[in-house]
């Protein structure tokens, strides 16, 4: 009967209850959408970075991690490859020569990270070949082709098929220079990285390096992203002389953002619920004060304080059980729609690129987040009901029953 009374009391003042329910639903809906955009932004940034530059796992010479010196090559690269070939979690891998040097044209010279790749392997671990906006990925130029970022091309004032010179050092400090021709110009969502990275073929790099030829990095993609950490540990155990790191360790800023994101999202929802709670408290206080006589009667005829308390709590929970799920469902549908369609933010595209974020955002949220939000709504309602319920208990039956 308590639940029956509580449920019917919710609709006693339909307008007032509808206003509160709508405010809860709208608050949750808006909160979920904003959060999904933030989560989508973060996921996008992480995904773009992993897809283009970082991959899931990287292997280096331990000394190379501390000091990116050309002499710290990976020893036993063939052994590394054979281990990777026999690890079922590994989807693909690509070996890279990593050099720090200068890229120069007649317009000037700029420092850059020179990544020398085996194109056919690189295309399996990176989507860089899909980011070409002019020319092609190591095609069309037979000798010394180079692929550079659009921003860097603009700074160097060069275009396709133009010649640029890259210089770097060998182990003994000797400067090596090579002329390369632009085969392709790429553009990712990370303008800063594009400005400071060029790609050449590993064979060309090692030819220039001569006796210092070798590879400094192996980039790995796994089949299932959930297995990154376990696969990293497994490979680290098998390749004990080398440094095997997951992307979270290779790019700590990305890992940190990822860890913090969930906590931030819950904090945002908690703040929204706190604000909504004030509305709930206000509504229930009004309901209690309006029903002073009725509550006085209930206590007079023998309804104990516990039942009176829970009647108010249940009524509050019912309000949130209507508004909360409604907001969650609306949020889910909105996120699903825009998650598929994307939100075009090209109007602020340039600004987003500075942060490594593409101009089309795909909002998304983990499925269990919706359930957790629904639970948080109910908890917030219970907490919000405590003050009005206590107010009801403070009524003196003899006075309340005669209230005007």
């Amino acid at each position: 009967m308590l639940t029956k009374i509580a449920w019917r009391n919710v609709w006693r003042n339909t307008l007032r209850s509808s206003v509160v329910i709508t405010s809860i639903a709208m608050g949750i809906w808006a909160g979920l959408f904003v959060i999904s955009v933030s989560a989508g932004l973060n996921d996008q940034r992480t995904k773009d970075a992993l897809d283009t530059y970082i991959s899931h796992i990287q292997i280096h010479n331990p000394d190379f991690v501390k000091d990116n010196n050309v002499e710290y090559r990976i020893d036993g690269i063939e052994n590394v490859k054979s281990v990777l070939d026999t690890t079922p979690e590994v989807k693909a891998y690509a070996e890279r020569v990593i050099l720090g040097g200068m890229v120069s044209s007649s317009a000037g010279g700029f420092g850059a990270k020179i990544t020398a790749v085996v194109p056919e392997h690189e295309m399996e671990v990176s989507t860089m070949h899909t980011k070409i906006v002019e020319g092609a990925y190591f095609e069309g130029i037979k000798r010394n082709p180079i692929v550079i970022g659009k921003k860097l091309a603009e700074k160097l004032k060069i275009g396709l098929r133009k010649k640029i010179v890259i210089t770097f050092q060998k182990d003994n400090g000797d400067i090596v220079a090579g002329a390369f021709r632009v085969a392709g110009i790429y553009k990712t969502s990370n303008a800063k990285a594009d400005e400071a990275s060029v790609f050449i073929r590993a064979s060309d790099a090692n030819r220039l390096l001569e006796e210092c030829a070798g590879f400094h990095e192996v980039a790995i993609l796994v089949n299932d992203l959930e297995t990154v950490e376990t696969t990293t540990e497994k490979l680290a155990a098998e390749l004990s002389g080398l440094k095997v790191r997951s992307w979270r360790d290779v790019a700590p800023d990305l890992g940190y953002a990822d860890e913090m994101m969930m906590q931030m999202l819950y904090i945002i929802i908690a703040i929204i619920l706190l604000a909504l709670s004030f509305g709930i408290v206000n509504t229930m206080l009004m309901a209690v004060l309006e029903r002073k006589r009725e509550l006085g009667m209930l206590m007079s005829v023998g309804m104990n304080k516990t039942k009176v308390f829970f009647m108010i709590v249940i009524e509050t929970v019912f309000i949130s059980l209507v508004g909360g799920p409604l907001g969650v469902v609306l949020g889910f549908l909105t996120v699903k729609y825009f998650g598929a369609q994307g939100i075009d933010l090209s109007i602020v595209g340039k600004g987003l690129e500075e942060f490594g974020i593409s101009s089309t955002i795909y909002p998304n949220l983990e499925p269990n987040f919706y359930l957790n939000v629904a639970v948080m709504v109910i908890i917030a309602a219970i907490l919000a009901s405590i003050y009005p319920a206590r107010k009801a208990l403070q009524l003196k039956p003899a006075e309340a029953v005669r209230a005007i």
Partner: protein, 231 residues
């Protein structure tokens, strides 16, 4: 006959010992026997409401005692009083005070639900009582769909649902028209005679006073007269 209600030198002082001390009850001693149809009358401020509140377990005395049956109600804690009221006292209020979101039948059943009586028993007794008060055709109506007189009859049925030792009616006819008052008093008098249910009224209404078989008059917190009438 055995005493259902017994008060001994019952006193209720507000702000005792201070300059503005108010003596709402100043030594009330009385006994109400089972089956009595008693009206407590007196001018405003005479102590009627205070007396009924203490007898009804809704207030505490300053001095003296009150017994309901064998239980000294004035010695019970607040939690004990809640339970005692549920099982021993029926209330009829001036403003009906029905639960607006429940039907007539559900309002009557509600008391029995608090007493944890089985569903079938609740339903049967509710129907019996609503029939006794002439509302067997209104069982599914909510208070908003009933007249004032009909609501008060539901309140009487609700008060009797718990099989109380007595029914406390505080100005039950104050909000009713003449016909409704007459109908309500007929029902209560009938129940009193047939079921030997004890009724204790607080009233200004002469129509109620005229039907009471015992009239206790209060003034300044004291009983100034106690008359019995054959009716």
């Amino acid at each position: 006959m055995s005493a259902v209600i017994k008060t001994e030198n019952l006193k209720k002082y507000y702000n005792p010992g201070e300059e503005i001390e108010v003596r709402a009850l100043d030594g009330v001693t009385m006994e109400i026997e089972r089956g009595e149809f008693t009206a407590i009358v007196g001018p405003s401020g005479s102590g009627k409401t205070t007396l009924l509140n203490i007898i009804g377990g809704l207030d505490h005395q300053t001095d003296g005692s009150a017994h309901i049956g064998d239980t000294e109600i004035t010695a019970l804690s607040d939690n004990q009083l809640i339970d005692f009221r549920l099982h021993n006292i029926g209330f009829v209020f001036q403003a009906y005070n029905l639960i607006p979101v429940l039907t007539a039948e559900e309002n009557v059943e509600f008391i029995m639900l608090l007493q944890k009586r089985p569903k079938e028993e609740r339903h049967q007794r509710a129907m019996e009582l609503l029939t006794a008060v002439g509302l067997d055709d209104k069982v599914g109506n909510r208070p908003g769909e009933l007249s004032g007189g009909q609501q008060q009859r539901v309140a009487v049925a609700r008060a009797l649902a718990s099989k109380p030792q007595f029914v406390l009616a505080d100005e039950p006819t104050a909000n009713l028209d003449s016909q409704s008052t007459s109908d309500l008093l007929d029902i209560m008098a009938d129940l009193n005679k047939k079921e030997n249910i004890t009724f204790l009224f607080s009233t200004h209404d002469q129509r109620v006073i005229d039907r009471a078989r015992r009239i206790i008059t209060l003034e300044d917190g004291k009983i100034i007269s106690d008359e019995r009438h054959e009716r």
